[in-house]
């Protein structure tokens, strides 16, 4: 084999995996990706293999296509649908796929058609897709429009987007329609509730690991999932006091302390939009991570029932 030293070094890299988690598989995937030799990529741009765990409902197929296409080439999608397949076997399959990609195999093609989101070529005086100051769809996308801000009343632009179902900072399956001004969530709505997960996903170990990862302690999160101590400083202190306070459930800081001590949280969570709107992005994500997946599911259903 005439491999360059760089390519040989690349082979020893942990497999960069972007996880698309389906119903019932959150705990399995989180445990799997805490192994040595695998690396959870937080964005598809950083990944080479897309791991699809579980059977997706039909309306999640199009988002899956989007995430799949965002993985740079060469890429590979791996399905983990068989519940009986062990983590070891999947890890082996991931490693084989990675070796193949490093060895110059061609990856998968795009799943989505190669067309911009809106027709724009040739419109406007410079062909940029719009006329006037804010009109048209320059480069295939419209520009943001103004709206009143909830914190300080400046009418600046609002950025509305649907986030999920495979956003790494949200519970799998949850699709939120968020309106942001700057990095503050002005408006939140649930488009799809998260996928149902078995009680295993509520394990204090996994809940604390999710929060640790958001606090910038990925290594500590892995150690916790593997059953060790987090081995990090200023854990509880880093979560602002009073953030995400829920009646009877304490705030995010107290929940983190509980998870680290091994006590699961049993909560009556208020509807999700009320919980999130008005929060700065990092705070909102911390609040979400501090809730066990089952409570988030209940919170979204609450709103649907109402």
């Amino acid at each position: 084999m005439g491999m360059s030293p760089l390519a040989r070094l690349a082979l020893r890299a942990p497999v960069p995996v972007f996880a698309a988690i389906g119903p019932g598989r959150q705990a399995d995937v989180e445990r799997l990706l805490a192994r040595r030799g695998l690396r959870r990529a937080l964005t598809p741009r950083d990944a080479a293999v897309l791991l699809l765990a579980g059977d997706l409902p039909p309306d999640a197929m199009e988002p899956l296509g989007r995430v799949h296409d965002q993985v740079p080439r060469p890429r590979r999608i791996l399905r983990w649908t068989d519940r009986t397949e062990t983590g070891d076997a999947v890890a082996d399959r991931l490693a084989t796929a990675w070796r193949g990609l490093c060895g110059g195999e061609d990856g998968d093609d795009d799943l989505q058609p190669d067309a911009p989101s809106n027709a724009w070529r040739g419109v406007g005086p410079h062909g940029q897709g719009g006329t006037g100051m804010m009109g048209g769809t320059p480069y295939g996308r419209p520009m943001a429009m103004t709206g009143l801000d909830i914190r300080d009343g400046l009418q600046l632009d609002r950025y509305t987007a649907r986030l999920g179902p495979f956003a790494p900072m949200l519970p799998p399956g949850l699709v939120l329609e968020l309106t942001l001004q700057g990095d503050v969530i002005c408006d939140a709505g649930v488009v799809c509730p998260p996928f149902a997960q078995p009680a295993d996903a509520d394990a204090p170990v996994l809940c604390s690991a999710r929060m640790l990862a958001l606090l910038g302690l990925e290594d500590a999160a892995r150690r916790v999932i593997r059953g060790g101590r987090p081995g990090a400083l200023w854990l509880r202190g880093a979560v602002p006091r009073g953030l995400g306070r829920i009646e009877g459930g304490g705030d995010a800081r107290e929940r983190l302390a509980g998870y680290l001590a091994g006590t699961p949280a049993a909560l009556a969570v208020p509807p999700l939009p009320e919980l999130l709107s008005g929060l700065e992005w990092a705070e909102a994500m911390l609040v979400l991570a501090s809730l066990p997946p089952s409570s988030i599911l209940r919170a979204t259903r609450l709103r649907e029932a109402a």
């Binding site: 804010m134 009109g135 429009m145 103004t146």
Partner: protein, 200 residues
């Protein structure tokens, strides 16, 4: 050699200064202004004003960062996705600019300029320090008071919570029906929302 570098830097400063008003993206405009300042700072370094030169780069990098933030915050179409010129009295302005530049240029070329270059290896930073603490002490402290007034003024003007209630109260006329759009303003339509760009 010095002359060559200085003229290149001066040309660069003028060119980036010109780009400020020619690029569509406000971020590019701000940072092109920053490059203009960096070039001036570079001239300072070459002309044995190390402190003033480098400090210009330092201060202006910070100020243009803030400038970019505010430009993007308040300019319509901040990234220039739809290229558009937002100018008024264009001809007069060009004429005024040219007139000022040529007038100053003629004045410079026709005046005999004194020549008394700063001695090499002069302790210029220490001289400045002694000047600040000695003869110009009053200027130094006055600058402090001015900056304090600026800070307080900026806080009062820009923050919402004033001593007398929220600063934007009364800015939106009440709606015709409860919760409706404010009265006396055109309803927000997509695309042409406050569209002032009719002057090009």
């Amino acid at each position: 050699m010095t002359d060559l570098i200085v003229s290149l830097l001066a040309a660069f400063a003028a060119w980036t200064g010109w780009r400020v008003f020619r690029v569509d993206s406000m971020v590019r405009a701000s940072f092109s202004l920053m490059l203009s300042f960096v070039a001036v700072g570079g001239i300072g370094v070459v002309l044995s004003a190390p402190y003033i030169g480098i400090a210009t780069i330092f201060m202006m990098a910070v100020e243009m960062m803030v400038m970019a933030i505010f430009m993007v915050m308040f300019m319509m179409n901040p990234a220039g996705l739809n290229p558009m010129v937002m100018v008024h009295q264009h001809r007069i302005s060009i004429a005024a600019g040219l007139l000022a530049a040529t007038g100053l240029g003629v004045a410079i070329l026709s005046t005999p300029l004194p020549s008394n270059p700063v001695p090499a290896e002069a302790p210029v930073v220490a001289q400045l320090g002694h000047e600040l603490l000695g003869p110009s002490m009053l200027i130094f402290e006055t600058a402090g008071v001015t900056l304090l007034a600026t800070m307080i003024g900026a806080v009062i003007l820009s923050s919402r919570r004033g001593r007398f209630g929220a600063a934007d109260e009364g800015a939106r006329p009440p709606g015709l029906d409860p919760g409706g759009p404010p009265a006396g303003r055109r309803p927000e339509s997509g695309g042409g929302h406050h569209h002032h760009g009719g002057h090009s």
